[in-house]
């Protein structure tokens, strides 16, 4: 098993830079396992990261990788996919990278239904820069920029993406490793924009600022925040506060940007050449 997973990583680059107890290792592992179980050819995969601790995952895998700018991996990935539609394009991005500075690219890639797979590593904070609040930081929690408790409501990234038109949206956490692998396989295999909001732990910043104890204690908090989708749907609106559905949130079929684009080319050709 270990060899099976390790072969997807540049071993001369290991050990990685992540802090002890960080969830990025679990996400990396789950991703490699999902790709392995799907039997994908690593040479046909491009992995794109932005800037952030989680985005550095893209620099450890053996796939072609593009380490881009903070907030821009989705936009870079759109370009790469259009240049070579045969590529399997995976994006790894933090909650800050994807939904604050990069929020604009995120919603438009979902709306256009670009055939991309996006893993959002959501540790509710800007880990790399020292634990400032992000758009997913829970109300009331402590970060270096909310020393008296956070006064803003967090995003539900999955609601945002469903609203923007993404055909596949899911959520889980590092506590649910097997579910994570399963969802990753579904997302990777999806034809169209597919995103997973992955709740994860940042013991060094978020955990410490909120006195949440050891990494394992921090991981366990996911059990009280993440509720299986079927149960979540039955909750009264008041009981949903501070909770998030996990599992597949949205899975529908719709034509991708490339489908529309190809159809447009064909019909234009027909009109011009009277084919």
């Amino acid at each position: 098993m270990r060899e099976q997973i390790l072969k997807y990583f540049k071993q001369d680059k290991l050990p990685h830079v992540f802090c002890p107890g960080c969830g990025n290792g679990e996400v990396m592992h789950a991703m490699a396992q999902a790709i392995d179980e799907l039997g994908w050819d690593p040479t046909q995969i491009l992995i794109v990261g932005g800037i952030g601790c989680s985005s550095r995952i893209a620099t450890y895998t053996i796939f072609d990788s593009l380490h881009t700018l903070h907030g821009r991996p989705v936009a870079f990935a759109v370009g790469a996919k259009l240049a070579n539609p045969n590529l399997k394009v995976i994006i790894v991005s933090g909650d800050g990278d994807a939904s604050s500075i990069g929020g604009n690219h995120l919603i438009h890639a979902a709306r256009r239904n670009m055939d991309l797979t996006l893993f959002i590593v959501n540790n509710y904070t800007y880990g790399m820069t020292g634990g400032q609040y992000s758009p997913t930081t829970p109300l009331g929690s402590f970060t270096t920029t909310s020393p008296c408790g956070h006064v803003e409501e967090p995003f539900s990234i999955t609601d945002l993406l469903v609203g923007a038109g993404a055909p596949f949206v899911a959520r889980t956490g590092t506590l649910y490793f097997n579910e994570l692998v399963k969802l990753m396989k579904l997302a990777l295999a999806k034809n169209g924009f597919a995103a997973i909001d992955i709740f994860t732990q940042c013991p060094t910043n978020y955990g410490r600022n909120n006195r949440l104890g050891k990494p394992i204690d921090l991981i366990k908090t996911q059990a009280s925040i993440l509720v299986p989708k079927e149960k979540y749907d039955l909750l009264e609106p008041g009981d949903r506060v501070g909770k998030f559905a996990r599992g597949v949130i949205q899975d529908v079929e719709k034509p991708t940007f490339l489908d529309h684009y190809r159809a447009c080319i064909l019909s234009t050709r027909k009109a011009v050449h009277h084919e």
Partner: protein
Amino acid sequence: MAIELIEGSLAIAHGAALCRPGVISAYPITPQTHIVEDLAKMVADGQLKTEFVNTESEFGAASVVLGALAGGSRAYTATTSQGLALMLEVLYNCAGMRLPLVMCCANRSLSAPLSIWSDQQDAMLMRDSGFIMGFAEDAQEALDLHIMGYKIAEDERVQLPYMVNVDGFLITHTFEPVNIPDQKLVDEYLGSYKPFQVLDPANPITMGCFTEPAYHMDVRYQMHKANLESTKVIEEVAASFEKKFGRPSGGLIRNYKLDDADTVVVAMGSITGLVEEAVDTLRGKGQKVGLLKIKTLRPFPTDKVREALSGKKHVVVMDRAMSAGYGEILGSEIKAALYGTPNPPAIDSFIYGLGGRDIHEDEIIGMINRPNPGTHRSEWVGLRPDLLEE
């Protein structure tokens, strides 16, 4: 006044807080983070009364402070590198609208390749923006330039934004004794912000409006002229600051052992401390060497530079940034300033310290004593040996 041993970032935060900005907005980026975290803490502790807005990007932060200034409030932001690049569109607008923002840039290299370490490449993005650009030598000057920055920017004759450049890490993350002025003195010195133009529903105006070709050039000329003429205000402010706070700081240029020097090093930012040591070492060996510190890059102090370097035999310019496809930046500005002056010195220029590459005193001495003065242009110092062809 109290002298405290503090981190450069905290000195900068004090500098900003003492000026009582009504709105602060920022997005975190290394090595700027400590500055805004210190400010956030002052706000949380009730020491600083201001609206502190953490935005979703630097683009948002720059937009918030622009709006605050247009609404009549003093405003502040800090960033660096990629964050500055992202702010650029707004910052050019800020200068064009003649809004007296003061911002700090913890100078850092630009991607790619990604590096969080210090150089002054990011500052060069702003060279042609209309901002007045000061460069601090140490934490004390970084603090002082904030106070002087508002004084200059808000002067009726100027009305332009001011950028305080401080070398990232080298100044922001080192601890130095810093004299933190009394709030009362700063209040007396600065006064409250009196905007010349403000968005007021009772008296509506448009800022940043569309200009036809018949007007655009003229408005740009006015901004350029105000920037050029601010040299006078910058000198006045350096003098009044020294009088009020009791120490020399900022200004256009500063000299070190320059008067009788034959050879003069020209440099900008925190490196000047190390150059002073090199000057002393060489003077100990009987070499007449001096230093010219560029404290203000825009407006470029052409007259001062000419005056300081006239009659010198040899000038060595050190650049911590480069213009790809050309080379030297400060070097070419110094050359342009001296062009056409009688008997100009031999000029050499060197590019050093990009992306945090260390530089040592013996390397500076090596630049000064390179054989064949006047034949070295944009020479890169400290490159990996395998990249050098000779």
